[in-house]
């Protein structure tokens, strides 16, 4: 089965916010929750002439690639509304080829709510079964962890004295 993802051409992300608001509207998320949001780095000076100033749309753990829409053959809603038209939906195979065509792109395969996806904890079961035995006492309590070639740190059961 093909793996689907989103290709972002962040060279042209302008931080318009359309992806985030689209996602919240599509999935009816309240403020504070979204499947995609934009992070900013800059502007800061690279040198006297050039600036670094990039925005990065990043999918969150609530991105399901608009499963309902893509099931109908439509593109995810952020792809539809992106003002700079920088998001492409497709198979990793197709998108990888696009990724090679120009720099300043990245490819993401989101996972919806991964902690929920991995399910409840279930142990793998079968454990070691202990062998039956008749265990005898040593007659002395040890509360030191050095080798047993001195008596230091050993409690003599009979005398109750610590050396």
């Amino acid at each position: 089965m093909s793996v689907y993802g989103l290709l972002f051409d962040y060279e042209y992300c302008t931080n318009c916010g359309s992806c985030q608001v689209s996602c919240q509207e599509e999935h009816d998320y309240p403020v504070g929750k979204t499947g995609i949001k934009v992070f900013t780095d800059g502007p800061w000076k690279i040198d006297d002439e050039f600036w670094n100033f990039n925005h990065w749309p990043i999918v969150t753990d609530l991105c399901d690639l608009c499963a309902d829409r893509t099931a109908e053959g439509r593109e995810p809603i952020c792809v539809h509304h992106c003002l700079s038209n920088i998001i492409t939906y497709g198979t990793v195979e197709e998108l990888s080829k696009e990724l090679e065509v120009k720099p300043k792109q990245f490819l993401v395969i989101p996972q919806f709510n991964p902690n929920a996806t991995r399910g409840e904890f279930v142990s793998r079961g079968s454990r070691h079964v202990s062998a039956a035995a008749d265990v005898q006492g040593t007659g002395a309590a040890t509360y030191a962890t050095h080798r047993h070639d001195t008596k230091i740190g050993e409690l003599d059961e009979n005398e109750g004295t610590i050396f």
Partner: protein, 791 residues
């Protein structure tokens, strides 16, 4: 060509990212998965400049709007949308929205709890009673229409001319510091209107149309098109063009995202643009980089312009503007050598007293490089273009005698006549003094002046409260202006609830014509044209029944917008196209298509683009551009001792349209607090850390905003956002939704306009900044609690 052929369904240009399962080719209304889908091309409300982005409105069988999506059939927006329309459902069904008329006693102005819901009949009766009383005593000129921007109401001149019959339709920003100064400059110099950058919007097939040449160099000058979709331009067309190879020159005091990607960024001191433009002209002329043929055949006053610009050598301009002189040379050469080159000139041109001169240098640059009316250069409207909004119904409704009483007409005829508007500053003066005559009644047409449009807002509030006996607000939501000053509230329909038209760029130079279709009904609201029609009949029945005699409100809209009177049938027919591209043509001046008389050349007294302007001279202004220092700035060192920073204001975000949308939680989340940008070194010096609240002050007042410490501005410059109020707070006076707490207009003056009455120093002022201990951070949980649950 019949008009029905003129409005043809636009050819779709599919985006590569759009799936093969899509809605291309769908009719204006269709069914899908049990929902009725209405395709529409919105203007307002919510406010926006008339871009007419394609929208699909999904309505369920209960008549409720359940989903909004971008319409891929629009050839310019292609399915893309900004957050504001994406969140349209939240706007339409916001629990804060007002859906019924209300009244309140005059003594209760400012009391948010005093409103009482009434019906339209009672509202009309109250308005009629006050109208008759006030006009009998003071005349119709005592009525003022407070016009705003972006909303259809903001330019709905028939409110003045036809409905109330007053000459005083008034955009309330000092010096009409928005768009109109630019319109005036090109009108005076070339007899045409706003020369938008040619982004192939009107061409079938868009960028691939064979008539189009991709713009090699786009000079973005004092404009933030991505955030503002200025004047109806789809801002992200700049991105589309960059991807096709367009290179940028950006002139901006801020390191905008576009500036960071420009080949040349001229980070000038705010307000010094005219000096820069003169220097660029000087370089282009002295290095012989201009279009000799266009200058010889189609320009007037080239020698004089050359001589004048020689007084501003690049070295001098570099010093004034605070940019390296090599960059000025490089920018001038790059623009002049581009084939084609284009300029997008923005609001910053209007927001200075020297702005008309900036208009002159800008138009001169476009002209002498041969880029006017050239593919990929600047598009110009031909003689057939334009919609006579301002003059519509004027003769019968106002007439010459009353027109002559327009406030400011005697002092600033250039201003008042170009857009048939009362002068903003002189209207404030009239409200304060009763001179030249008392102003007694007001109507807000898409304007929240106390939060957004007007400078010294407390002064405006006091003047309105004192002067007006009666005032009407017409809006989708309550806002501080209506809360503080109105006696009647009338509810306005949103784009989802109405039909109508949208012409990009406010009709002149239209690229697309769009049509709004009503998809839902909410409450008991009206559109601007419906209110104008109905209230017109109530107030002036004789005029509307006999002189205008429209058969329906729709026919009135049809006549106003489409020049037809077919009781809405013509509208219905062409509106099915939803969006149409308006036929465009180039080099019209060579074929006599720029003038009513059919002669070659331009519609000016000399028939040429007047680099030496006869119109400027007639109005008593210098016919050639000149540089003037911002009144408040380094020119007064004493002032700079107390206010050592240059203040520039009003950069937009995509979250809001000016003062709108603050109550839409998902939009507010994009920009929860009012932001002031400060350079890290300046912040360090002042003891301000990122995210701290600061007090910004000027000789006129102060406000508090949240500091964003960033190299986006230089060390001398402070940028502050505008139009902030807090709908989540107590609306009653004195708090008034916190309207005056973070309002940057507190710091800005009135009456500091240019010689022709245009322009105000809103983007080139002075200020001081200091850290404060308090925090006013927005509580987004409260926002969601209050406004998150739709009704």
């Amino acid at each position: 060509m019949s008009d029905a052929d003129f409005y043809k369904r636009a050819q779709v240009v599919k985006l590569k990212t759009l799936s093969d399962v899509n809605d291309i080719g769908k009719p204006w209304r269709y069914e899908e998965n049990g929902l009725t889908v209405t395709r529409t091309s919105p203007w307002s409300p919510p406010g926006c400049h008339p871009v007419g982005c394609g929208l699909k409105l999904y309505v369920n069988d209960e008549g409720r709007l359940v989903k909004v999506e971008g319409d891929e059939n629009n050839p310019v927006t292609q399915g893309r949308l900004c957050p504001r329309c994406i969140a349209l459902k939240d706007y339409v069904y916001s629990p804060a929205r007002l859906l019924h008329p209300m009244k309140r006693d005059r003594e209760d102005r400012g009391n948010a709890d005093a409103w009482e819901q009434i019906g339209w009949d009672e509202a009309y009766a109250i308005i009629k009673e006050n109208y008759d009383r006030i006009t009998a005593q003071y005349g119709r000129e005592s009525i003022v229409i407070f016009a705003g921007t972006g909303r259809e109401g903001g330019t709905f001149a028939p409110y003045g001319t036809m409905c109330f019959g007053t000459p005083n339709f008034c955009y309330t920003q000092s010096g009409y510091a928005c768009y109109t100064p630019r319109l005036a400059a090109i009108a005076y110099m070339a007899g045409t209107t706003y020369p938008e950058w040619d982004y192939a919007g009107a061409l079938p097939g868009r960028w691939e149309d064979e008539r189009y040449d991709i713009t090699e160099v786009l000079m973005i000058w004092g404009k933030a098109p991505l955030e503002s979709n200025p004047d109806g331009f789809f801002g992200h067309a700049v991105i589309d063009s960059m991807r096709r190879g367009t290179r940028l020159i950006v002139i901006d005091p801020r390191v905008t995202w576009l500036a960071a990607r420009a080949d040349i960024h001229l980070q000038i001191r705010p307000g010094t643009d005219t000096a820069l433009g003169m220097a660029m002209l000087d370089i282009i002329i002295s290095e012989d980089l201009y279009d000799h043929d266009f200058v010889e055949y189609y320009c007037y006053g080239f020698e004089q312009l050359a001589e004048r610009c020689a007084t501003m050598p690049p070295e001098k301009a570099a010093e004034i503007c605070g940019v390296p002189v090599e960059k000025i040379y490089a920018a001038a050469r790059m623009y002049a050598n581009a084939n084609p080159g284009a300029i997008q000139w923005g609001l910053a041109a209007d927001q200075k007293t020297n702005g008309m001169q900036q208009g002159q240098v800008t138009v001169s640059l476009m002209a002498i490089t041969g880029n006017l009316d050239a593919p990929g250069g600047q598009i110009l409207p031909g003689t057939g273009a334009g919609h006579n909004e301002a003059g519509f119904g004027f003769e019968e409704g106002v007439g010459e005698e009353l027109f002559s009483k327009m406030v400011g007409l005697d002092k600033y005829p250039a201003y008042c006549m170009i857009i048939l508007n009362a002068h903003a500053d002189l209207m404030l003066h009239a409200l304060e003094t009763g001179e030249p005559y008392p102003i007694k009644m007001g109507f807000y047409a898409g304007n929240n002046l106390l939060s957004c449009t007007s400078q010294e807002p407390q002064r405006w509030r006091d003047a309105i409260q004192k002067s007006l006996d009666f005032c009407i607000g017409f809006d989708t939501f309550m806002n501080p202006s209506i809360q503080a000053t109105c006696d009647i509230f009338l509810p306005l329909k949103t784009v989802a609830e109405r039909d109508g038209t949208v012409f990009t760029h406010y009709a002149p130079c239209t690229v697309t014509a769009g049509f709004m279709h009503k998809a839902i009904e909410v409450g008991d609201c009206k559109t601007d044209y419906e209110l104008c029609y109905e209230l017109g009949h109530v107030l002036r029945p004789e005029l509307w029944e006999k002189a205008y005699a429209y058969r329906s409100a729709k026919e009135f809209m049809e006549a106003l917008r489409l020049g037809e009177r077919q009781n809405g049938e013509f509208f219905d027919k062409v509106a099915e196209n939803v969006v149409c591209q308006i036929p465009v043509d180039y080099y019209k001046y060579e074929r006599g298509e720029m003038r009513q008389d059919g002669q070659v050349g331009f519609a000016t007294p000399t028939g040429r683009v007047e680099l030496w302007s006869t119109a400027f001279q007639q109005f008593g202004e210098d016919p050639l551009p000149y540089y003037e220092e911002p009144m408040y700035g380094p020119v007064s060192p004493m002032l700079m001792r107390d206010y050592p920073f240059i203040l520039t204001t009003g950069a937009r975000t995509t979250a809001f349209f000016h003062s709108e949308h603050r109550m839409i939680p998902r939009l507010r989340e994009l920009c929860p607090n009012p932001i002031t940008e400060i350079h890290p070194n300046t912040a360090k010096k002042l003891g301000i850390v990122d995210g701290q609240w600061v007090r910004i002050s000027s000789p006129f007042g102060s406000c508090v905003q949240k500091a964003k410490v960033s190299e986006i501005v230089d060390e001398k410059t402070i940028h502050s956002q505008h139009a902030w109020w807090f709908p989540e707070e107590d609306g009653s006076e004195p708090n008034l939704y916190g309207n005056f707490r973070s309002n940057i207009n507190n710091l800005l003056p009135n009456f500091k306009v240019g010689k022709l009455g245009f322009g105000a120093p809103n983007k080139c002022f002075v200020c001081n900044v200091e850290p404060i201990a308090e925090s006013y951070d927005t509580d987004m949980d409260l926002m969601w609690e209050k406004f998150g649950k739709l009704v």
